[in-house]
Each structure stands twice: as structure tokens, then as C-alpha cells.
């Protein structure tokens, strides 16, 4: 194949586990170009995972589905919304300042309609599970075990 810039290549818009990426290993000692399957890349992450994006949402309105983490601040009782996501998308919401209950209403929610964040520290993790909508897969909050946002 003639030399070609990466920007000139056809675009893949998703991957399969068998796809191959380019990796340089042993960087500090003996750098070597290697291929790695997407499966091995994701199945054996050598360190922790971090998300550089964060939305600080103050007051009522829609919460972003473009960021993983939303730090939620209320200034009175407020209503927040969450649009539909994409397959298996994870969304983390942490209520960091309690000025009144935040009632979050996803556009589509699995077995429920709202999450009420009532106390600072309430947190929830949601996963978009497809047509059934956002599923609450984790809740946490300060105080006794079982604390956290109320799912209704």
C-alpha cells in the first residue's frame, strides 16, 4: 500500500474484539512496534480508568449525555432531565450541593420514572440498556447503608 496519512484512511465508526491497533511497548527500555487486538487492549487495562470530562450542572435543566460524570448542584427544589443514551453507556451523577431536592427524570427509564437526590453526597450510576432506557445500577449516599437517591 502506498504511504497514506491516517487522516486519509477510511473511517471505522466502531470496533470488534478481533480488530487490531498499533502499540509501542517497552518504551523506556527497548521500544518495539506491536499489534494488539482490541480485546486484549480492553480486557487487560494495565492501570486505572479515569474520565477527563466533567459537567458541573447548577440548577434545573438537562444533564449532559456527552460526559460521564455530572456534579449536580441545586439552589432550591429543581427538576433535571436526562436524554436517551447509546447502548451500554454509563452515566455517573453525584449530588454535591443540596439546596433542595433534585428530581431527575430520564426520557426513558427502566422500571421507574425518577431519581430524587435529596442529600448532598447522594450518587447514582446509570447504564443505558437499550429500548428499556436508563437502568439504575448503583446508588450510594452518606449515612446508613442503603442511603442514596430515591428511585420512583
Amino acid at each position: 500500500m502506498a504511504d497514506k496519512k491516517i487522516t486519509a484512511l477510511a473511517a471505522a465508526t466502531s470496533t470488534t474484539t478481533a480488530d487490531i491497533a498499533h502499540l509501542v511497548t517497552a518504551v523506556s527500555t527497548n521500544p518495539q512496534n506491536k499489534k494488539i487486538t482490541v480485546a486484549n487492549f480492553w480486557n487487560k487495562i494495565p492501570g486505572f480508568i479515569g474520565f477527563a470530562d466533567i459537567e458541573t450542572k447548577t440548577g434545573a435543566g438537562a444533564i449532559s449525555i456527552a460526559t460521564t460524570l455530572t456534579a449536580l448542584i441545586s439552589e432550591g427544589a429543581i427538576a433535571n432531565q436526562l436524554a436517551d443514551g447509546i447502548q451500554s453507556q454509563l452515566k455517573v451523577i453525584v449530588f454535591i450541593t443540596d439546596g433542595g431536592t433534585s428530581t431527575l427524570t430520564p426520557a426513558t427509564m427502566n422500571d421507574g420514572t425518577t431519581l430524587a437526590f435529596e442529600d448532598a453526597g447522594d450518587a447514582a450510576m446509570l447504564m443505558w440498556i437499550g429500548a428499556a432506557g436508563w437502568a439504575v445500577i448503583s446508588q450510594a449516599g452518606p449515612g446508613t447503608p442503603g442511603a442514596g437517591p430515591t428511585v420512583a
Partner: protein, 153 residues
């Protein structure tokens, strides 16, 4: 551009969703060089996510590391292991394995709280570092009735 080794390229220390990576698709049938945005690479992971780093066994008051994903809590006496500040969006998983004395995990900075008390084996928590507010428990779990798990104080 003249040929250059990858190791000779300028280093990116973070990526943007619009950045491009090089990928080879259809490996078994008709291997094809393609570009893929970081967004598409991360938003459509084709398999599970796993962590190959060795879990840290946190015995008694040993400081919990912030370089690994998973910490396994073991106590022979009541203890208070510390955890330093993380980086934006970092996820840390803590699981109590053997508890003979409550393990009171005390983050250097914690969102709306000061500690998590792991009083029973199987108590577990997922923490996310949410920036200046510190470590936020985003999941707690434990054996027994729903709502079991470490107590946040």
C-alpha cells in the same frame, strides 16, 4: 513527512474525542487499515473491560494506593487506611475480604463525608474522584439484605 519511528513522535499526554487512532479492521477476512476517532473507540467498546494490574492487599492501616484499580481490605484489628487524592474521573474499587476489626477507609479528600467503614467481609464500594470535592462513593454493596455495605460517615 519523513519516515519516523512512533517513539520519535511528539507525545500526547491526553486525548480528545475528535483525535484519531489507527486501527486494522476485518482482520480474519480482509484486513483493512482505518482511522477511528477516540470517541468511537471509547463509546463502542466491543467487549468487556478488565484490569490486569495486580490488586493491592490492604492489610490493616496500609495506605491504599491510587495507582491501581482494586484494593482488597484485610484486617486483624480495627484500622484506618488512608487514600490519597486521585485524578479527575478516576475509579477506585474497594472490597473487604477478611475483616477482624472494622476498616475505616479515610480519603484525604472526600465528597460529603470523611470515611467509609467496612465492618463485614464482602462490603464493597466504588469511588470516583470528582475533582476538588474529592472521592465520591458512587456505589456501595454488601452481603445480606439490600442496602448492606460500608457505612459512609
Amino acid at each position: 513527512m519523513a519516515d519516523k519511528k512512533v517513539t520519535a513522535l511528539t507525545a500526547a499526554t491526553a486525548s480528545d474525542v475528535a483525535d484519531l487512532a489507527h486501527i486494522i479492521t476485518d482482520v480474519a477476512t480482509g484486513a483493512t487499515n482505518k482511522k477511528i476517532t477516540v470517541a468511537n473507540f471509547l463509546n463502542k467498546i466491543p467487549g468487556f473491560i478488565g484490569f490486569s494490574d495486580t490488586p493491592q492487599t490492604v492489610t490493616n492501616a496500609t495506605a491504599i494506593n491510587i495507582t491501581g484499580t482494586l484494593g482488597l481490605l484485610v484486617t486483624t484489628t480495627a484500622s484506618a487506611p488512608a487514600i490519597a487524592n486521585g485524578v479527575q474521573g478516576q475509579i477506585k474499587v474497594l472490597v473487604a475480604i477478611t475483616i477482624s476489626g472494622t476498616s475505616t477507609v479515610t480519603p484525604a479528600t472526600m465528597n460529603d463525608g470523611t470515611s467509609l467503614a467496612f465492618a463485614a467481609a464482602a462490603d464493597a464500594a466504588i469511588l470516583m474522584y470528582i475533582g476538588a470535592s474529592g472521592w465520591a462513593p458512587i456505589s456501595i454493596a454488601g452481603a445480606g439484605t439490600p442496602g448492606a455495605g460500608p457505612t459512609i460517615a
